[in-house]
Symmetry: C2
Subunit: 547 residues, 2 copies
């Protein structure tokens, strides 16, 4: 393995942990908990793991003897910076309890559990991955662990390896499944505990008890570095509007955080678009307004941040896409038989409802074509593959051209499209994420030693120095409500979208007129690991404002 | 101006400079010089500035009295990290000679000189821009300074401000024009010196005397950070081939340097493609070979680096584009009148020469359409806007599908396209670029004080610690040869393409089979400013290998 000088230097970094994780630990139980909604139904579905108390760790002088145990760990879903440190924190925690304990990594995500593909993780392996990005130590995967047959297979494989606890590092869905698995094992008295760890760069897995999911901090910093660089370019060349789409699935947390860090001219928040029942045209008009106002100051350049999920949050587009999914399934052969894109668009426009047809025919042709061509294996439009950033450039360009003809716009408009996602998901973790994830791994080890199951590792008070963080556990059922999934009501962790009455969004609202009309770009620069604390150890603006 | 914590911390950074720039300076003249080619013609065109000696500075105890002077500076062409530090180095150099000297920045590039748009640069202004990226302090522009009327206007404006020296910070074209201006002023005995500073992220302005242009180091490090992150993602998710196009205009220096830093599975070098007279199909076949071999090891993921200028270096594509430019100008109305892209492609295919028609009809439709639609205001195909990365994905996909049908490929292939350019041009300079550019600015001030004109600031021995760097000057004419430009032979600085017998390219050749078949990714991580020297102060692999 050839390593860069930075990788080598970072291997020596010792993550900072809360005081309670530095020596002996006392687990303190809080009050009994309730789920966020649908309490009766969820209590009924989780008779063995519902209502458990929130746990907080305190430092303790008491020395305990822990038996040697075997623990399994998996990484589930999309990568997030810090995954490797959860595993090293878990490993070090287990070894500090009993040096004969063993950690097995199941390979390629949840399927590794059911297929019994694993590797023992020894310090020879782990030491190469400390403080690094990526999930490549054992790989990840998107298999869903939700069928009883899978649970039984998992149990059988755990038994073979003498595993008495599983740690599942994943997002909202994976932690939901971890809770179901915990309940299943508890009901069977199977002797395998299940602990979840909150991961996702999207930032949509959070509550009072889970202040942030890991990876969000690092990913937002990488994207903000790039946005800052592009803004400096825009402000130097003074000739382009850069439309920058940012990963984050449905929620706009990443776009919002990056906006707070960089102060772009426009930042779209999908949750606002939905709440105001805006049309695509209205979204475009908002951007055009900014372009026109900036041209009056002779500033024909700018930046526009776009959350990945925008299109799904525009009610009229959502309706159109739903109709298209049905129609393209029904008329697949007819549509494919048509010669040109023009004929296809005309065929479809005729079949749509009046409202959707109106929306569809007003779309730029290239985008309408994309809606007809890019379908997944089930025939559905692949929303995540829609080039929203290019669509918006095309639509702004068309409107601005019209305004120019009418004498209402005297500037210039040229767009450049960017999409950032893969650039940040596997970045090496910031000091914050390195510390946070290592602490989460340590915490999981304590929860296991304390015999807990159905808990998520939780480290709170994250805007304070790491020594003052509060480690503990949160019953996963506490985060749940009932939602319709694939036609049936299911208990799931409530996804945390951007709240329009919370401080982060409100801060954007208070400032966005000034950011739009004046040029007040901030240039965060690259993540630093070795410099002054105010440069290296600050976490997200979102977290600071939420506090 | 709201600044990020890193910006604030970096303002305090004191760039490292060679010993000769730390106190008194002695300017040592070397031998007389010759241009790299066409000596007689160039000598004739530059009677006053041809053949001047290379200059080296040495530290000196002698204290000199310098008169107060006024100096002008412009930024020309595309941004490169470190431009602001050239200006601060120049400013500090002038002020250390005589605190009454003044520095004027001309705004928006060369047009600021002719239009007399300027701003005095005082420490109040300069101090906000020390060690920052971008050219926003005075802006840049792409106006070419090559007509006598412009020269006369420039002289008149210099006289108004009492300016006795101009510093032109630019790439090969801008430095060529600086030399012509220097000769013009010298011939007229106009009393205005002209000094150039070698800038471009593309890395194509270099000779023995100009070891690297500034900005190349930083830009390559930003791109390599992102490539490393994407490689870690590829190696974790194990499901995508990432095709990453990199800025750099014609030359492949950036793609090559990034390859040396990150060890991708494939790195295309345009200069090799041209030297081997390869077709687009052959380029694609090379990638397909790697995809097939990796699939045999069950590795259905990877990275492919693509230089921006590739298409222009494929001889058959170059010929096709030249033919298309002529044809689309000739048949513009006919082509525009056609209804569908299919009809347009058929129309064009019939008119092309047999060879070009063959190339054109084999292109994927979407790409062929792009060649017909994306034209600049002169009707030319805009090569820089061609999505080569998507084209290659489409072509690889098609070939792999065919191989699958024939039973010769058992893996999977899914592509993701990226293009990095704007992300790195305005990044804050690395320590190397911060030191190098500040030293170049200092050097320009010494050349001015020593009465020189027609020189480019030169700082050499760049792989040694900054203290041991050798500052001095190189006559611009030394870098020139005669080339055809717009139908006439002109004296220009020879563009430095990747040399296929040099160490950097040879190192790629020696390693690429291993990098292709095995996964040997290196993850450079983000630029660091405060850590250990081996992390913060190393310059490019290209420069190290060339030494």
């Amino acid at each position: 393995m050839i390593k860069s000088p930075l990788q080598i230097a970072r291997e020596k970094y010792v993550p900072k942990v809360p005081v309670s994780l530095k020596g002996g630990v006392k687990v303190v139980e809080g009050n009994k908990t309730e789920s966020v909604a649908d309490q009766a139904e969820i209590a009924k579905m989780f008779p063995n793991t519902y209502g458990m108390p929130v746990l907080s760790f305190e430092a303790s002088d008491e020395k305990k003897d822990y038996p040697a145990i075997n623990v399994g760990v998996i990484l589930s879903g999309g990568q997030a910076p810090g995954g490797h440190n959860v595993i090293s924190g878990l490993f070090d925690g287990l070894k500090s309890q009993n040096s004969d304990s063993k950690l097995y990594g199941f390979l390629g995500g949840p399927s590794g559990l059911t297929d019994n593909e694993y590797q023992e993780l020894t310090s020879d392996v782990i030491d190469h991955y400390r403080n690094t990005g990526g999930f490549d130590i054992i790989g990840s995967g998107r298999t869903k662990l939700e069928e009883e047959a899978q649970f039984d297979q998992t149990l059988e494989n755990c038994k073979k390896l003498g595993i008495s606890a599983l740690v599942i590092i994943g997002g909202d869905d994976s932690n939901t499944n971890a809770a179901v698995l915990a309940e299943y094992f508890a009901a069977k008295d199977a002797g395998v505990q299940v602990i979840g760890v909150p991961k996702t760069i999207d930032g949509d897995l959070k509550t009072d008890m889970i202040e942030t999911s890991f990876g969000f901090d690092t990913a937002c910093k990488v994207y903000s570095e790039l946005i800052g660089n592009i803004q400096r370019d825009a402000n130097s060349a003074k000739k382009y509007y850069h439309f920058i789409k940012l990963m984050g699935r449905s929620a706009s947390h990443i776009a919002l955080e990056c906006a707070l860090q960089t102060q772009p001219n426009v930042a779209i928040v999908s949750e606002e678009v939905e709440a105001k029942n805006m049309t695509l045209d209205q979204v475009v008009d908002q951007i055009v307004d900014v372009v026109v106002k900036r041209a009056e100051n002779d500033e024909n350049f700018g930046t526009v941040l776009i959350p990945e999920g925008l299109v799904e949050f525009i009610p009229a587009m959502k309706a159109l896409i739903a109709e298209l999914n049905d129609m393209l399934a029904k008329y697949e052969d007819e549509v494919n038989a048509l010669e040109s894109n023009k004929e296809r668009r005309e065929f479809v426009a005729e079949k749509l409802s009046a409202d959707s047809s109106d929306v569809f025919t007003k779309l730029p042709n290239s985008f309408a074509n994309q809606l007809l061509l890019d379908r997944d294996p089930h025939g559905n439009v692949q929303v995540s593959m829609i080039d929203t950033e290019k669509l918006l450039i095309d639509m702004v360009k068309a409107k601005v051209k019209k305004l120019k003809k009418e004498g209402k716009f005297n500037g210039k408009f040229k767009g450049q499209a960017h999409f950032f996602g893969y650039e940040g998901r596997c970045a090496a973790p910031s000091n914050f994420d390195a510390d946070y994830t290592y602490s989460l791994g340590n915490t999981a080890a304590v929860l296991i030693a304390d015999g807990k199951t159905g808990y998520m590792a939780s480290v709170r008070n994250l805007t304070a120095p790491a020594e003052e963080w509060v480690a503990g556990g949160v019953p996963v059922t506490m985060l749940m409500n009932m939602e319709r999934r694939h036609g049936a009501m299911k208990p799931v962790i409530q996804k945390a979208l951007v709240k329009l009455d919370d401080k982060p969004y409100q801060t954007l609202v208070e400032n966005r007129t000034a950011w739009a009309q004046n040029t007040q770009y901030v240039y965060p620069g690259p993540i630093q690991y070795f410099g002054p604390s105010e440069v290296c150890d600050q976490t997200t603006k979102t977290l600071q404002l939420e506090k």
